[in-house]
Every structure is written in C-alpha cells, then in structure tokens.
Symmetry: C2
Subunit: 184 residues, 2 copies
DNA sequence: ATTCTGATTAGATAATTTTCTAATCAAATC
DNA sequence: GATTTGATTAGAAAATTATCTAATCAGAAT
C-alpha cells in the first residue's frame, strides 16, 4: 500500500492514456519498428515520438534495442496480458478497511461532539450509530446497570438522556430487561 | 479504427491513470460508498472527489445510485476483467499495415527524388529498396529489355545507370541472363 | 416553509503533459 | 576526419488536468 506502488500502478495506466501511444503500440505489435518510421506513419515530429516511446518503455510496455542504424522498439509482452483489475485494485491488507472507517468516524465524531459533549443526535442512522458506539464505550459490557446509573453516565453527553437510552437500545447496543440495562 | 473508438480507449486508461482514482476504486470494491465518506477517508475536498468520481463513471468503471441521503457508487464490473491488450491494441484491419507502409514510403521517396529525378541512391538497404521498387514500376514485367533499353529508361532517373542496374539486380528486382534484362 | 446535508457545478489557479524547434549525441558512411 | 542520419535532450509555448473555494441544487428533516 506504499505510495511507490500506488504511483507505479497509476503511471502504467497513464502511459496507456494517450491515443497516439495506443497507435504506437498497435503498430509495433505488427512488427518491431523504429522511431523515424513511426513519425512518418503518424505524421508527427520525431522528438514527439521519442517522448511517447520513452513513456512506454518506462512503463515496461516496450523494450528497445539498437539495430544497425535504428533504435528498434518491440512489445514487452507480459504486462499487456494482465487484467485492469489486477493492476487497478490494490491488494487488501486487513488494515485498509479499518483505516478507512476510522477516518470517516473521526470526521463524524468531530462534527457532533464539542468538548466531549454531544451537540445533538445525528438524524442519519449511519452517523447516529457512530456517535452511539462512541458513547457505549463508557459502559462495561461485563456488568448490569440500573436506569439511574445509565442516566448518570449519559447526562455527561447530553441532557436528553431518555432519547439517548432509547437510541442505544434501538441500535442494539444495549438491552433492557425488567429495568436492568446491559451493554451488548 | 475511428478516432471515436481510439479516444474512448485512451480515455479509459486515462481515467485509471491517477493514484487517487485507484484508491477510490479499491475502497469501493470493499463496499459501495458515497462521496462524503470517500472525501473523509482520503482527506480531500468533496468537490475533488466528485470530479474523480465523474471521470470513473464516464469511463464506465463505476455506477451510481441515489440511496436515501447519499449518492452511492459501486463497481461496474465488466471492464475491469478485460486485459490491457484487449483495450490497448486496436483490431487490425488488413488496411493498417498498408497505410503505415505508404506513409513511410512516401517520406523516403520524397527525400530522394527531386522533380522525378533521383538525387542519389540511399545508403541504407531499407530505403534503397523503396527507391528501386519505385523505379522498377517503369518496366513491363511481361517483356525483355536489352541493356541499352534499360539504360534509356534509367538515365531519366540518374546519370550513373550502371549503379542503378547493379542495385536493381542485387535487390532481386531484375534478372539478367546473357545480356537480357527482365523485371521480376 | 425553512433548514440541513450531501452532491455537483462554476471559476480560478496550480501543476502536469503534449508538442514543437533547436541543439546535441552516437553510430555509420563517404 | 567530415558528414549524414536517426535518436534523444533542453527549453518554451500551448493544452489539459487537478484542486480548491464559492455558489447552486435536490432531497430529507424539523
């Protein structure tokens, strides 16, 4: 997941992302060719062709060899047989989803908490969940709580403790049986 | 081989040619996501994410659907399973090689002929061949020529008819048997 | 009806890429 | 050795792309 790797993948696609370079590859597939020839065929300046050829070589799509007068370019096969997915989609260390979730969670928490207190309960389920999970962390899942105990903790977050209690239960983060609360 | 097609192919690669867009695809592969979420994860402005998402959709790599609050993006699978070659290398109508050769030939002929006369015989075999084939067109392959007749035609191209005769034979464009010349 | 929220568009600026002309290089020919 | 020829590099102008701020839009919640 290093930047090195990521940028290299993008660079390969970038090398393919120009119509003239696709034409060059297609022409060279028929037979190895040299720059002058390509310049004549495509009606472009040899310097321009050289520029494109360099990019294709850097990307590993072409290889070149000196042949008498000419610098002859030929296809460097392996890469072209890969699928887009193999190159575009990064391998998924278990870590990625965690990092991803954390970033979003941090933004949401930041939006609804001010100095440790909840400004208001998010209207959206997705965000409500994040906020409630955060609050639930203050409870020990290994013991029971009376409603009064629950309220004492919740009031630090928001005055409307009843709404918070209800939301925690709706989200399945808490159970209540006969007036006794328990964090799931 | 239309420009339309060519540019569309290049555009697909161009869409993949940016590290952030690769990250977006990789994140969306894990689960469909909406723009805000991606912006938070990648620490970028929502407008920037929107711009990248638009490119990915235009390329046919993503599809989007309105989901309650969110515009949710998901992978649009098919394309990603293609190989680079399938998209980068153009189908080869028999025409392409001809067009290609003609362009190069035209350039060489233009370089060595001035007002129908050969300025000098190219040193390079590749170019010599092109020039000699052009000259050979002036001969009828269905009949024989004496050396004198050959010279009369060649002298219009260049004073050193002996060198031309020799080159034509070396290249196998002419045969000489007992002083009689014949175009192959 | 008004406000909120996520998404997109407009506009501006910065960064990158493409393309050419000139200059330079290196190998091959004369 | 001088010259030709194909290839590359330097440098600059033109075109494209990426990114942000602001403004706008559309759907949902109050």
């Amino acid at each position: 997941m290093s930047n090195r790797d990521l940028d290299a993948r993008a660079a390969l696609f970038k090398a393919l992302g120009h119509p003239i370079r696709l034409l060059i590859l297609s022409l060279i597939r028929l037979q190895p060719r040299h720059g002058e020839e390509l310049a004549a065929i495509l009606s472009l300046d040899p310097a321009t062709i050289s520029h494109h050829l360099t990019k294709l070589v850097e990307a590993g799509l072409l290889q070149s060899a000196k042949d008498q007068y000419y610098q002859t370019y030929s296809l460097s096969g392996a890469l072209l047989n890969r699928t887009l997915a193999e190159i575009a989609l990064l391998p998924q260390p278990a870590l990625v989803p965690t990092v991803a979730l954390d970033a979003y969670r941090a933004q949401v928490l930041d939006a609804f908490f001010t100095q440790g207190r909840l400004t208001h309960l998010p209207a959206q389920v997705k965000k409500q969940r994040i906020v409630l999970e955060k609050i639930a962390e203050d409870f020990d899942p290994h013991r029971d709580y009376t409603e009064r105990e629950v309220n004492q903790i919740l009031v630090d977050y928001h005055d409307d403790v009843a709404a918070l209690r209800r939301a925690l239960i709706d989200h399945g983060l808490f159970t209540r049986t006969q007036g006794i609360y328990h964090r799931q």
